[in-house]
Symmetry: C2
Subunit: 327 residues, 2 copies
C-alpha cells in the first residue's frame, strides 16, 4: 500500500487537523467526539442541517459545511458510520431554535446511528434519507444506496434552510429531491482501504465494474472495458428510464470523479452525457464536474441527473461558501 500517512490509526485525525487548519475561515473542528461545524453564526430560527458518514469520500461531507449548505458534519472512520455521540454533540453545537435535519446516505449503519441520535435528542428532528443510486433495483432489500446525489440534496436543502424554511419544509424538499435525482457509477479500479492495505477487489485490465457504489465494492456487473461513449450511454439509459424526463425539462448534470480519474476524462464524460440528454430535448442548464463524492483512490466516475423546477434551480444558484463548493 502506497499512501501518504504516518499510521493507519492516526490518519483520520491528522487529516481532519489539516482540513481544519486549511479552512479555518469556514469551519471549526471538534475532536472529541469528532465533528466539524461552521464558524459563522446563523440567524436565530434557522433549521440546523447535519450530515455525516464514513470518511474516504472527501470532500463529502466536511467540505460541504458552511454558509448555504451544512451546519455540521460527523466523519466516521474510513467507510465506517459515525457514532450517535458525534451526532448528538454536533446537534448540541449547532441547533438554533428550529430543530435539526439529518441528511443521511442510505446505509444500514448510518441509518441506525442517526436514528439513535434522533431518538436521544430533545430537539425536533427530521431525517432525509438519500438513495439516488439506481444501479440497484428500487425494491432492493435494504433500499438503494446514497451516492453523489447527496451533495445536491445538501446544497439545495441548505439554501432553503438558509432562507428560513421550516424543518417540515426542509424535510419535504429533501424527500422531493431524492425522487428526482438519480446516479450511477462505473469503476476501472477498486480502491485501497488503509486498514486493509490492498485493493478491495481485483479487476482485469480489459474489464470495468458497472454500477459501483462509493466504498470500493464490486458493482452490479463486471463488463468488458468499453469506449467512453458506450459507457455513458449504458449509464444514461438507466438513469433516463428511472427519471423519465420530458422534453424541455430543466436538469442539473453532475459528473463526479471517484478520486483517481483525471479531470480531463471527467470533462469528456460530461460532454457525452450532456449530448445524450440534449438529443432528447432535455435542457441541461446547470452542471458540476469534479471529485466531490469520492471513494479514496478509486479510478471511476458517476453520472447524476437531477430534474429542476424553478424553485430548486433558484436554491441551487443561491450563494454557498464551503471548502469544496463556493459561489
Amino acid at each position: 500500500m502506497k499512501k501518504f500517512i504516518n499510521s493507519v490509526d492516526t490518519l483520520l485525525d491528522e487529516s481532519l487537523l489539516g482540513f481544519a487548519k486549511a479552512h479555518a475561515d469556514i469551519i471549526q473542528l471538534n475532536s472529541q467526539p469528532r465533528f466539524v461545524k461552521r464558524i459563522k453564526s446563523t440567524s436565530p430560527g434557522k433549521v440546523a442541517l447535519i450530515s455525516g458518514g464514513g470518511s474516504g469520500h472527501e470532500p463529502l461531507h466536511t467540505g460541504f459545511v458552511g454558509v448555504g449548505m451544512l451546519d455540521a458534519a460527523c466523519p466516521g472512520q474510513i467507510f465506517t458510520s459515525p457514532s450517535p455521540d458525534q451526532m448528538l454533540a454536533a446537534a448540541e453545537a449547532v441547533e438554533n431554535g428550529s430543530g435539526v435535519l439529518f441528511i443521511v446516505k442510505n446505509y444500514a449503519g448510518d441509518v441506525m446511528n442517526f436514528e439513535m441520535a434522533a431518538e436521544m435528542l430533545d430537539y425536533p428532528t427530521a431525517t432525509v434519507l438519500v438513495s439516488d443510486d439506481v444501479s440497484l433495483p428500487k425494491n432492493h432489500s435494504i433500499g438503494r444506496r446514497g451516492v453523489a446525489g447527496t451533495l445536491i440534496v445538501e446544497k439545495i436543502v441548505g439554501a432553503a434552510a438558509e432562507q428560513g424554511a421550516s424543518l417540515a419544509d426542509c424535510k419535504a424538499l429533501g424527500d422531493k429531491l431524492n425522487l428526482v435525482t438519480a446516479s450511477m457509477g462505473v469503476a476501472l479500479t477498486s480502491c485501497t482501504v488503509p486498514a486493509i492495505g490492498k485493493p478491495t477487489f481485483e479487476i482485469a485490465d480489459n474489464e470495468m465494474e458497472m454500477g459501483v457504489g462509493i466504498h470500493g465494492e464490486r458493482g452490479r456487473e463486471t463488463l468488458p472495458l468499453a469506449t467512453a461513449t458506450e459507457i455513458v450511454e449504458h449509464i444514461a439509459n438507466i438513469i433516463d428510464t428511472e427519471l423519465k424526463p420530458e422534453k424541455g425539462q430543466q436538469a442539473l448534470l453532475l459528473v463526479n470523479g471517484f478520486g483517481g480519474t483525471p479531470l480531463l476524462e471527467l470533462h469528456l464524460i460530461y460532454d457525452l452525457a450532456a449530448q445524450f440528454w440534449e438529443k432528447q430535448g432535455i435542457n441541461i442548464c446547470r452542471s458540476l464536474v469534479g471529485n466531490y463524492v469520492t471513494s479514496l483512490d478509486m479510478a471511476g466516475c458517476s453520472i447524476t441527473l437531477c430534474l429542476l423546477d424553478d424553485e430548486i434551480l433558484r436554491l441551487w444558484d443561491a450563494p454557498v461558501h464551503t471548502a469544496a463548493l463556493r459561489w
Copy 2:
C-alpha cells in the same frame, strides 16, 4: 491502459468540449486553433494575461481563465507545448489596448513557442517565466521547471491586471513572485500518458520518487517509502533552505495533488507542512489544498511555499471567478 476515452486522437478535443459546456458561464472555447477565453468583457486598458502548456495538468491552465485571473489559455496536446498560432489567436481575441503578458512554465518547448508568438505579435508583450521547482539546482542547464507555483503567479498577477496594473508592473510582479515561491513534489506512482498506454516509469511498492515534475518523469532520486512526516520534512527543508523565510514572515502554503491522491492524504500533508513552518515562527496565513496542477493520474503531491507581503496578500484575496478557483 484503463481510461474513459473514445480514442487517443480525439481525447483532448472531446474533453475541451465538455469543459466549455460545463463552464459556459465563464469561458468560451475556440477550436481552431485551440484556446479558451473568458466571456466577460474586460475594462478597456486591462493588460491581457495568457498562459498555456501541455494538457494533462487540469485544471491548470484552462480552469484558471476568468475574472481575476487569466484572459485566455492555450492547451497543447497532453504534455506537449501549444503552438505559436494558438497563442497568436488567443492574443488577437483578448488583447485590450495595453499589451499581452504571457505566463510560461519553464520548459524548452513552451518557452520557444511563446517566444515565437511574442515576436510575431504587433502588441507590446512581456513574459513571466515560472521556475519554482526547487528539486533541480538553481544553475540547472535549462533552468528549473515551472510547477504548482504557476497557479499562484497566475492568481496574483491576474488580480493586479484586473486592478489596472501596467504591463511592466505585471511583469515585475510576476518575476518577484517567482523569486519568493518554491515547490517540490514527490510521487508514489508514475502516470499513464494515453498515447503511450503504460506508466512512464515503474516504481517498486516500497519506493517513492522524490523531486518529481508534473510530466510523470522520474525525479531527483528514488527513495525508500517513508512516513508522511519524514516526506514532508525532507521537502520542507529543501524549500526552506531556498526561501530562507524569517520569523514572523507571512506565507501561503499550497499542497497540490497530482491527480491520484485522495484529499484525505493531502490534508494530512498540509497539517504536517504547516506544523513545520509554524514551529519556525512562520505565519501560514493563507492556504490552498487540492488537485490544481496535476499529472494525469499520478499518485503524489507537491508542497509550495510563497512568501507574502501586504500587497501580494491583498491581491491573493481579491475576487476570482474561474472554473477551478472562486472566491
